[in-house]
């Protein structure tokens, strides 16, 4: 079946099979910044923004995205680069495989929550798993990033 999806502001006409998930369709169309980690909606590596809100594209039917706005990390590259400075300043990027999805969720949290506490941050990002960092460095990076946003 044919889908029209606006991806990072660009109208894309895409083919998909019924029942196919959004991750597959996006990666096949060249949006390889959307990572495939667990296939079961647990790890968060495949996170994209759907109308500005984070969704797990591995568990979101591609057909449902027809006519909608999808944003990958490349669609918010300037903000992502800014956050990357804080993340890499802590060494908490590590293997980087979870980073695009994780970073998109951080940006969504910044848009949504005014002054998140550490508990709020951990809770908002609980669905973005990382096996390398132990999370502590990522929390340090997020706090520094949010603090700098206020300045």
């Amino acid at each position: 079946m044919k889908l029209t999806i606006t991806i990072n502001g660009k109208n894309e006409l895409l083919e998909c099979a019924p029942g196919e998930m959004l991750t597959e369709v996006l990666r096949r169309a060249g949006y390889v910044e959307v990572k495939k980690g667990c296939d079961t909606g647990n790890c968060g590596a495949c996170t994209v923004l759907l109308e500005g809100k984070p969704v797990l594209s591995c568990s979101y039917l591609a057909a449902r995205a027809d006519g909608k706005n999808i944003t990958t990390i490349q669609g918010r590259v300037d903000e992502a680069r800014r956050f990357a400075q804080f993340l890499t300043a802590e060494g908490a990027d590590q293997c980087g495989f979870c980073a695009p999805g994780f970073t998109l969720t951080v940006l969504a949290m910044r848009d949504e929550l005014a002054n998140p506490s550490e508990a709020d941050i951990r809770h908002y990002l609980a669905g973005n798993l990382c096996r390398c960092s132990g999370y502590e460095g990522q929390i340090r990076a997020i706090k520094n990033y949010l603090e700098a946003q206020h300045e």
Partner: protein, 818 residues
């Protein structure tokens, strides 16, 4: 988890001191926190990982896998699958060379038995490969795989490793399989490997010891769960050579072993490792490469295979399950006289890393306590019809330590001594050695070594401060049914495998005055490309931006065994340091010729060469154009290639202290604070070392509390996705504090040792000891699920031991009567 659990004042820890080396740092690039060279690109999602780079016209490869734990393949009918439009080929064991090999990425000759064919007539676990399908698109490949009709003769499996030894059911009767050198391989007895050593007379020493301790713990299989699933693609280049891009930790071992398994000359294979999404040992082996290679060789077409997460769980490798028994003999004052460690290890269906993980359980734990008269280590590694075990961060040491550190704490309880003081009295110090180093290597004899850097005393002292350690007040009731309790453990690891691991590096001077750094070393997300560039920049007196790193390509970078055994900083880093030092000497000699001076009269600083009299100067930038474009017959490429093979493996050390909260009504354990202090020598990048240790600790906490590979009675894996095998999330642990003490290893690059594995080793031991302190019961079955902890609480309550160590009056007991 409530906010209260993360209250930093709970432990009364003082504020974190300045990072290591800040005051004394005499380096300009090394021991500085610099962003990872690939960091921003990866955050922005630039195509970098294997699956991002696969050619668009590649065939999709899918595998038919065994539904049985043990079976003989009677027939494979692929006619229907082959008839599907878009199916390129179906390959079975009859298409494979009948050559046994090992999938373990290890040196040559491998200490793992050659007990595996790419595909075989027998399948030995649920998920073992049966047939290889390739098709134009993924959906067709999946459909075709479902249409391959396989008839099996189902055999009775051996699933419990306690029953494997000398079981009448033999997993590996095939005549072709063999060991590469004596490793105790006895397949007729289901033994993949065995080993025994004894120094002194352990039985006599223990018999003569006034205090005797005996503990047995059972550690479970654990999964790596690197975020990127195993993936590879292959194609034939213009010369007809086989090129494989793969998420591997060891490109050269993969090339060599693949050459053997495919019966192709090594020169006809090129392995490239792009960025990897984590490894942890899970990619120190061969899992997907043979299948894409077979398809490319059969069809001439590019081929790609990315495992599903379920396949990663069911059909790659796990940590070796082990039963670890430790006996101690000691004097009543706490002086250890003898240690006996006996292990049974479960290698699963094939013997990858069987001998070496098992030996490391002793060789990288027993030297911790070196003031003994006798020590013994031995046991077997057995085959079972479960997914193979392989390399996993900690590599046996974490399992061995659970037995040793349990026994040490039991000894402390028995003689009424602070477990910290017991360890301090018996542990290794700088300037000392252990005979275990000399006797036990990884599959071979070891290498004698005197410890030149060991800051365990400092690690312990700082760790006590961080957690607020008071042996009289380890347990307190913070709310009804909530016990807070502390425990600790110490650990060591290694830095590469001495005289076996070799790394090399090439540095080349480029126009514009920058340097190409080519290393075989394999960055699996740890930042090794970055820290190797830091070492080169330090040695060459330039900035990080002047070093361009290229790594892990068997055609274009020099040899390296790969990223495992905590080797990269020490082994590959030493090679980089040597190469950069040679190049610096070459540069100075060439600049001296140009300036008409003796090399000894040239001062090189701030990227400028200056004659001693100050009359002639030459910038690195100008010189780079001169040597490549301007200087006629004197033009030359200025480059240096150097190698390093360690003559020792200096251990990093850690002292770890944990405070947990036990819910006495549910048995749930929450980690409130994990405080770990490490001696890694000079951290080349303090922040990368620290994050790696923090990550290791969290994996170790996962192993301690809930990560567990579970099977049905027929050998089907029940924990085959991230719902049934959860890994720690951001909300699961209170606080992890990691500090690195000042230390300098004279044999390492700029004083460095290693940091990759030491972090994971302590949590299973420290948490067990904390539970023991609160309940009086030694939990011996990992992981410590609420059910098991609750049983311990009830046993402790029944015996009256629980609550006896509570802070203040020992009158309160838990759980409280309602």
């Amino acid at each position: 988890m409530s906010e209260q659990h993360r209250d930093p004042s709970a432990s009364g820890a003082p504020a974190r001191p300045a990072p290591a080396l800040s005051a004394t740092n005499k380096f300009h690039v090394v021991a500085h926190d610099l962003p990872k060279v690939d960091g921003e690109g990866l955050v922005l999602g630039r195509p970098a990982y294997t699956d991002d780079l696969a050619p668009a016209n590649a065939l999709y490869v899918k595998l038919v896998r065994s539904p049985h734990a043990f079976a003989r393949i009677v027939s494979i009918d692929a006619a229907v699958a082959l008839a599907l439009p878009g199916v390129a080929c179906v390959l079975t064991w009859k298409d494979c060379p009948r050559v046994p090999y090992t999938r373990a990425g290890q040196g040559n000759p491998e200490p793992s038995p050659h007990d595996r064919f790419i595909l075989d007539e027998f399948v030995r676990y649920v998920g073992d490969e049966v047939a290889v399908i390739a098709a134009e698109d993924e959906a067709t490949a999946e459909k075709a795989a479902a249409f391959v009709a396989v008839k099996y003769e189902v055999l009775e499996p051996v699933l419990n490793f306690e029953n494997a030894l000398d079981n009448p059911i033999i997993l590996h009767p095939e005549p072709e399989i063999h060991e590469m050198f004596p490793i105790g391989f006895e397949p007729k007895r289901n033994i993949a490997a065995a080993y025994h050593m004894e120094l002194g007379d352990v039985e006599a020493e223990i018999a003569a010891s006034p205090v005797k301790i005996e503990t047995t713990v059972h550690t479970q299989a654990q999964q790596h769960v690197a975020m990127e699933p195993h993936v590879a693609f292959s194609y034939l280049d213009v010369h007809g050579r086989l090129v494989i891009y793969t998420s591997t930790q060891n490109p050269w071992h993969t090339r060599r072993l693949l050459g053997l398994a495919l019966q192709k000359p090594i020169r006809e294979i090129r392995i490239v490792k792009p960025r990897i999404g984590g490894g942890f040992g899970g990619k120190q082996q061969i899992h997907v490469e043979p299948f894409v290679a077979m398809v490319t060789l059969k069809t001439g077409r590019p081929a790609r295979l990315a495992l599903t997460r379920r396949e990663v769980f069911e059909a790659t490798f796990t940590r070796h399950e082990m039963r670890v028994s430790v006996r101690l003999g000691a004097d009543p004052n706490g002086h250890l006289r003898a240690i006996d460690m006996q292990i049974l290890s479960n290698t699963g269906a094939y013997g990858e890393h069987a001998l070496t993980t098992f030996m490391v359980a002793g060789s990288k734990t027993l030297p911790l306590y070196n003031k003994i008269a006798a020590v013994r280590f031995g046991g077997h590694v057995v085959y079972t019809n479960k997914v193979s075990a392989g390399a996993y961060r900690g590599y046996g040491a974490i399992q061995g330590l659970t037995g040793l550190e349990a026994a040490m704490d039991e000894l402390a309880h028995k003689i009424g001594m602070d477990p910290v003081e017991l360890r301090r009295m018996n542990m290794i110090h700088e300037g000392e050695t252990s005979d275990v180093f000399r006797i036990m290597g990884e599959g071979t004899e070891g290498v004698a070594m005197t410890i030149e850097s060991c800051k365990l005393e400092e690690c312990i002292a700082r760790g006590k401060e961080l957690i607020g350690w008071d042996p009289a007040r380890l347990v307190r009731e913070v709310a009804p049914g909530k016990l807070r309790t502390k425990g600790m453990a110490i650990a060591m690891q290694g830095s590469g495998i001495p005289l076996i691991d070799m790394g090399s590096a090439r540095v080349e001077f480029q126009d514009g005055g920058f340097f190409k750094l080519h290393v075989g070393a394999t960055d699996l997300g740890t930042g090794s490309d970055t820290i190797l560039a830091q070492i080169a920049a330090e040695e060459l007196g330039v900035e990080m931006k002047d070093i361009v790193v290229h790594s892990s390509d068997t055609d274009h970078t020099p040899f390296d065994v790969g990223a495992y055994a905590s080797s990269t900083t020490y082994v590959s880093g030493s090679a980089v340091q040597r190469a950069a030092r040679s190049l610096r000497e070459e540069l100075i000699a060439a600049a001296a010729r140009k300036l008409g001076a003796a090399p000894g009269d040239i001062v090189y600083e701030n990227k400028n060469f200056r004659s001693a009299d100050g009359k002639n100067t030459l910038s690195l930038d100008d010189f780079s154009f001169d040597t490549l474009y301007h200087d006629g017959a004197a033009m030359q490429t200025i480059a240096a290639t150097e190698s390093f093979s360690g003559e020792k493996s200096p251990p990093p050390y850690m002292a770890a202290f944990v405070e947990i909260e036990i819910d006495t009504e549910t048995g749930k354990v929450d980690v409130v604070h994990y405080a770990a202090v490490a001696d890694v020598g000079t951290p080349i990048s303090p922040m990368l070392a620290k994050v790696q240790i923090e990550g290791g600790i969290l994996q170790g906490i996962g192993m301690a509390l809930y990560e567990n590979v579970r099977y049905s009675e027929k050998g089907h894996m029940l924990s085959h996705n991230m719902m049934t095998y959860p890994i720690p999330s951001r909300e699961d642990v209170g606080r992890i504090t990691v500090e690195i003490v000042d230390s300098y290893e004279p044999s390492g690059p700029f004083g460095a040792k290693s940091a990759g594995e030491i972090g994971i080793d302590t949590p299973p031991s420290a948490i067990a000891n904390a539970i023991r302190n609160a309940t009086g019961v030694r939990l011996t079955e990992y992981p410590f699920t609420p059910e098991r902890v609750l049983a311990a609480i009830r046993a402790g309550a029944a015996s009256g031991s629980i609550g006896s160590r509570l802070e203040g009056a020992g009158a309160r007991t838990a759980p409280r009567a309602k």
